[in-house]
Assembly symmetry: C2
Homo-oligomer: 321 residues x 2
């Protein structure tokens, strides 16, 4: 199902979030305003703020606070991407030049800091201590995941367990923060909050696995960035990890990790991964997490909101970009 | 007066803050733990957390929360320094190799993010919404000040007003956050909080002016970093700004800004600034801010704590490093 169709019933709520984010770039300093304007022009999928909105809709909620929290979640995500691009020296994301590419590393780092702070300010404005503590804890978790990834770059000796642990911290933590914060703002009973945390967490794991698959099998045009970019950065994702498991004697991933400048090995690794059952196996792992994500949703009120959560879960594994 | 003498009466409180900060590096991931351990080894002046402790001591306070807030203030400061060093590619700070120099830019950026989050977590743990909102707003202010500085690099057309505005955002905002958060945590009457905000703000301006003076007249050994490093980065600080005002026809600062690689001009600028009345004038400006900082302290209870605030103010302009 197309994401626009899934979002249909919540178009108005989502516009409130988009408008709240737009206000962020209205600052006095014209240079900062330009940077903000560029980085906040939205062409992302908005899945994380949508999860906050949906998770907050089951029980009593104050729409204004929910919108602030959803904006915070999206801004935090944007800030991490800006820092990622700066440290990876990535020129393109979502088909557009990155802040790093246009303004350089210094401004990208500082802009990321600014947006973390803005996300924190939005979270603080909810006045909800649980959401605020969660925000800080999640940023710690994400950064520690990224630090692990940096230390593990070009290390061929990594297990599936390590991979899952890393993407749990790097990606799933923000997904479960999105759902938990929404639920916490709506006075949901603790049992429901826990179900939504589990949903967000497992959805996040599946989302990252599919991201890692698409980094190999997607088209550069659809992905808006070069194919095989994780591998080029020395990041061992599930498809590459499985190739290493299947062909321990010798494979292009291992060869690349032994010689980082070997562009030929990147090309060969992409080819081998695309033409192997590895991709199907990765999709199976992602689907298992999706199933896990949805398994307890029946505890929640069975309404349109719950239906949308299930549609998003289906979308995650079917998406092509 | 020596800082150790000034801190004498609060040695125990300060140790509580240092111990709370030490706990931060006790994390599972050994690589992250090593990074944290290195970056949190304290050889700074601890002025900011001391301001929080002192500002919180005039009225009813919970020591545990005050210590958390003081730790948050110091961690936020540490995080900004780590990011500054990464984007300036500074090899040395406080006489020690920077995180950037030892681990590289990627890890420095991510470690800074982690420490911002840790600072946020400490702030959140106070449960005080005013302190939490202040934390987020201050990080926005600091980042926007740094962004202005980045855009103004090597721009010779800057006024004193612009300089003061920039250091207000970059430095004074954290000083006034330190005092305001302490005061807010101690149920101080609003009038007292405002006096402490004013004190912190003016102290911060004076502190940065003296920092900018010492960057020219200090010794490399005492400063723990190369002399003239601001100028080398293209940052126009008060001493350099006054040289530009005094010698509009031609001066080494202008020549450096016209030709960034002109090492000779840096040397000449340092020499000219050291041997001119510019330094005395800068000290006068700093002293005026110190006087302003202390002017309303009489509104507060006249006790040992208030005495210490005045001693710190004196120290700020007398310090040699």
């Amino acid at each position: 199902m197309d994401l626009n169709v899934i979002y249909e019933s919540m178009r108005q709520d989502l516009e409130l979030v988009e408008n709240r984010i737009k206000v962020v770039s209205q600052v006095e300093n014209p240079s900062l305003s330009e940077l903000l304007d560029y980085s906040l022009k939205n062409n992302g999928k908005m899945i994380r703020p949508v999860l906050t909105l949906l998770s907050g809709k089951f029980y009593n909620h104050d729409m204004d606070r929910l919108v602030s929290m959803a904006a915070a979640v999206e801004l935090m995500h944007t800030a991490t991407l800006i820092h990622d691009d700066a440290i990876d020296k990535s020129p393109v994301r979502r088909g557009r030049a990155t802040v790093y590419e246009v303004w350089g590393e210094e401004k990208a780092v500082l802009l990321g800091d600014y947006l973390f702070a803005e996300a924190g300010a939005f979270t603080a404005s909810t006045g909800n201590i649980r959401a605020i503590k969660l925000f800080a804890a999640t940023l710690k978790t994400i950064s520690s995941g990224e630090i692990s990834q940096a230390f593990d770059a070009f290390n061929p000796d990594q297990s599936r367990h390590q991979y899952l642990q890393r993407i749990a911290r790097k990606t799933a933590s923000l997904f479960s923060m999105a759902t938990e914060s929404g639920a916490a703002l709506s006075e949901a009973p603790e049992e429901s909050i826990q179900v939504l945390i589990e949903y967000g967490y497992n959805l996040g794991i599946a989302f990252q696995i599919v991201d890692d698959i698409l980094d190999f099998i997607g088209s550069e045009e659809q992905m808006g960035k070069p194919i095989g970019s994780d591998l080029a950065q020395g990041t061992l994702t599930l498809p590459a990890l499985l190739i290493m498991e299947y062909y321990p004697e010798g494979n292009p991933v291992k060869r690349l990790f032994d010689n980082r400048d070997d562009q030929d090995s990147i090309r060969l690794a992409i080819e081998q991964i695309r033409n192997s059952p590895v991709i199907e196996e990765c999709y199976q792992v992602a689907s298992d997490y999706i199933q896990k994500a949805c398994s307890n949703l029946k505890v929640l009120p069975q309404n349109e909101t719950c239906q949308t959560l299930m549609e998003i879960a289906d979308y995650i594994v079917q998406r092509e970009k």
